[in-house]
Symmetry: C2
Subunit: 112 residues, 2 copies
């Protein structure tokens, strides 16, 4: 997980290559088991809390991490849960940056 999180996020363009399907399982295995592949085009993790303040604060921290990294998730803040989704919109598919960012989120949560 540490190695994946440490990789450099190259800015994504329409020319960014998707991660080949046969490599996705190996990258997913490096992430927290809470991540799942959705329709083979996005990475999703749900974090449960018993309030609204927790998901809101966590969204802020993950958002700040995304700003530093230049690769942004969709963050869905609900009472009781935060849903984090990474995909590479430029190619409507998963690029390495999505897995790198997921690993960085795992590191952030582990430090919390």
């Amino acid at each position: 997980m540490a190695d994946l999180a440490a990789r450099i996020c190259v800015p994504c363009t329409v020319h960014t290559l998707p991660v080949p399907r046969e490599q996705r399982a190996a990258l997913l295995a490096d992430l927290d088991p809470a991540w799942s592949l959705v329709e083979d085009r996005l990475l999703r993790r749900v974090i449960r809390h018993r309030d609204f303040a927790g998901p809101l604060a966590m969204a802020q921290r993950i958002g700040a991490l995304a700003q530093e990294s230049g690769h942004h998730p969709d963050l869905h803040v609900h009472w009781g849960r935060l849903i984090i989704e990474f995909t590479t919109h430029a190619i409507k598919n998963l690029s390495e940056a999505d897995f790198v960012m997921a690993a960085r989120v795992d590191r952030l949560l582990a430090e919390s």
Copy 2:
């Protein structure tokens, strides 16, 4: 709009009454025209930005307002837009609190 925003948010329970359908148009008319009724069970407003930081910061401010008011939206933070949704989950329908909170969000945005 000012009157609606100033109404007291009564905590919602399964016994909270939904706003009668014939009253919804009148309440909606008191809100910013950007609000729309979705499937007659939730209020949605989309705010567009040209970055990720704007939606993230706005989610934080609206989230803090919701915490003060005790009635919480779903906040969907994307690069380029924030989607705000109010519904009363306890009754799976729209209560007056949803319209009151939408009016408070309008007031917050007008002050920005």
